[in-house]
């Protein structure tokens, strides 16, 4: 299921969310209220593998903070980032840090319909490509990563595929190093890595 709204609905959601975010300073209780809005696009559980919206709950704290910051300053500014760009406009740095802390502390939801078991050649190809691609240098500890390097393990296959390809084609511009690394991978190898990473426990 991909999330999509009609323009009037989008505007309504944005209005409500932006109003909610502006109302309160960073505060344990308020953070909970603020992030409650995120669930609409980033469910807490039963996330389909076809979801292009990433799993965020349990993502590494430094990475979540940097993405919020980059959405706000339009360092991530592709057309599909418009909602996040709008949502982050009223956030202060302190709020972004508080949100990142809270989000990273939540349990990582399972992604549904895992169709590529370890016996599948696509899974195995993905493991090999990721190993030779030196991805584990930064996304270490069974693809958990750390701090500003995101967890890849168990992310939705659709989000992984889309993101890796957006680094390759320049649509995602907020990490030139990642763009360089992924441009030397073929579309087939990207699909294999996505199948592998999304299916690891």
């Amino acid at each position: 299921m991909t999330f999509s709204l009609r323009p009037v609905e989008t505007l309504t959601v944005l209005f409500v969310l932006v109003a909610a975010l502006q109302a309160h300073p960073a505060h344990a209780q308020d953070v909970k209220q603020q992030v409650a809005a995120c669930v609409a696009c980033h469910p807490l559980s039963n996330v389909p593998a076809s979801s292009v919206n990433p799993i965020i709950w349990g993502q590494n704290e430094g990475y979540v903070y940097l993405q919020l910051r980059d959405f706000k300053r339009a360092a991530r500014a592709s057309t599909s980032d418009a909602v996040m760009h709008a949502l982050t406009q009223p956030m202060t740095d302190a709020q972004m840090l508080a949100i990142a802390r809270y989000v990273s502390a939540q349990p990582w939801p399972k992604s549904q319909d895992q169709k590529t078991p370890p016996t599948d050649p696509l899974f195995q190809r993905g493991a090999l490509v990721a190993a030779y691609g030196v991805c584990g240098h930064c996304h270490f500890n069974n693809w958990q990563g750390y701090s500003t390097t995101p967890r890849l393990r168990g992310q939705t296959a659709a989000y992984l595929t889309t993101t890796m390809n957006e680094f390759r084609n320049g649509k995602r511009g907020n990490s030139p190093g990642m763009a360089d690394l992924l441009r030397v991978q073929s579309a087939e190898d990207v699909a294999a890595m996505a199948a592998y990473l999304s299916n690891i426990d």
């Binding site: 430094g62 270490f140 069974n142 750390y146 990490s175 030139p176 190093g177 441009r183």
Partner: protein, 575 residues
Amino acid sequence: MQRPLQVPRLSTCCWLLIVAAICIPTAHADSAAAKSSSAQAAPRPGLLSQDRLTAAAASRTEFLMTHGSYAQTRFHLADRINRKTVKDLELGWSFEMDVVESIQTAPIVYDGVMYVTSSFNHLFALDAKTGKELWRYKHVMAPAVSLCCGPNNRGVQALDGLVYMGTLDSRIVALDARTGAVVWNRQVADPLRGYSITMAPTVVSGKVLIGLAGAEYGVRGALKALDAKSGKELWTFLTTPENSVGVWATKDAVGLPLHRDIAAEKAALAKRGDPYRTLGGSIWQNPSVDLQNRRIYFVVGNPSPDLDGSVRPGDNLYTDSLVSVDLDTGKYVCHLQYVPHDVWDLDAVSPTVLIPVKNRAGAIVPGVVHAGKTGYLYVHDARDCSLIRVSEPLIAVKNERALPTAEGIVMRPGPNGGISASPLAVDASQGVAFAVTTELATAYYKASVSTEYPDGKLWLGGAFKGVPGESAGGSLLAVDYNTGKIRWKAQKPEPMFGGVLATAGGLVFTGEGNGKFAAYDSSNGRELWSYRADAGVNAPPSTYEIDGKQYVVVGAGGNTQLGTKRGNKILAFSY
């Protein structure tokens, strides 16, 4: 699959209480220490004085700093364990740290206390005789840190009752060596700019010397001196000077052509200006110290972005160089650049060693020795940094200094070297340096688009990949630094990373990623003893003596870059 670091999820006020509980000295540490040994009281470290540190190389019983002494020879006088007795070496104790991740710590030992660090900056004080814990410090990390090559830490140093550690979030913490209480905690750089610290500090003459890393993120590298008592910054040496273009060298220090387009670079310089502000130049390892002449010697890492030279015209000083500065002022004394305008990520990493060497005329002069990612041993005259000789290649080389291509070109060495962070050991009585090498082929790709400085994000300017089908391995070898020739070489099945310890017992000790930790006859490389750990032994060993027993201690936690099996143990072998 290793267990990830589990951090309790708590609100801010709970975090503050926990940090306070760890850091405020309590009766707990003393009572734990009192209970730890039925036979005798737990050791209490005295004030480790500068005089003792200065004489570290002469100690038969202690290991006072990460590379043994300020000269960094990693050569220890203890000889109870020797070529005859090493067969009887046995595991004495093992200690499990609370983090299962890469271990690169070099244990230090004084007054019967050992200090070791884990990844993510946990520091443990142990009874060096029994391995029992005396106290631990768990650093509270900033929320956003930028790493190059794993969350490792290379160790600590102590002086006058304090023990000092550099952290991944670019802080220096000074702890009470007896209790682990935090005495001061100083931010020395901004992790959001890409700065991190993985090296152990060098503490000397009232100063804490620390180098900053981050050249994968476009930082401006630096070596800083802080006042050891207060943490106040005394001086900073920036590794990229405002005039970084140098001499437009067309060959590297070995004499290999660099294939530079100098005309294009000069045009780029005219358009862009000097690139020094975001030029990189990480520092990864301890400087050696010449106390008599009040000078330090260190080596500097790669320029930013690693693989794309078009946005950084010039030689890119002082990246990939030996540099010497004044200990008291941080002022530049001399340098020698190994790889001008590097586009291969051939950092200078392995720590320098100060040792008398023969110059070309055969006269003995003060020397500096460094083993490069390039795969060569460089021998310098310490007085002016000039190069006396370069060894024969210590690894198989292929397409050296060929320019990266769009389709990818396979080269040896790659970004793991050669010799990267692993320290040498030097036996002056034999005139050899012992090194562990990595033999890996890497495919280098030139970026199809150049990118400008990305404001603290990963900045590579190209890519590298491993190459299926190409052989991988490594070696432990002895190279004669007065002739540049390899004396002996023991081939190993896997790339080697960790470091070497040499002793007056005629032995060298080093570990392997497959878990093997072994002792070799230092005169010929013959294996005399080994042990199989349950994780990669990719850390430098240390040695010490207590109550007539000699111990050899090493961390077995694997390595992030090489992907060897992770663990959490500190292993102490004794005879």
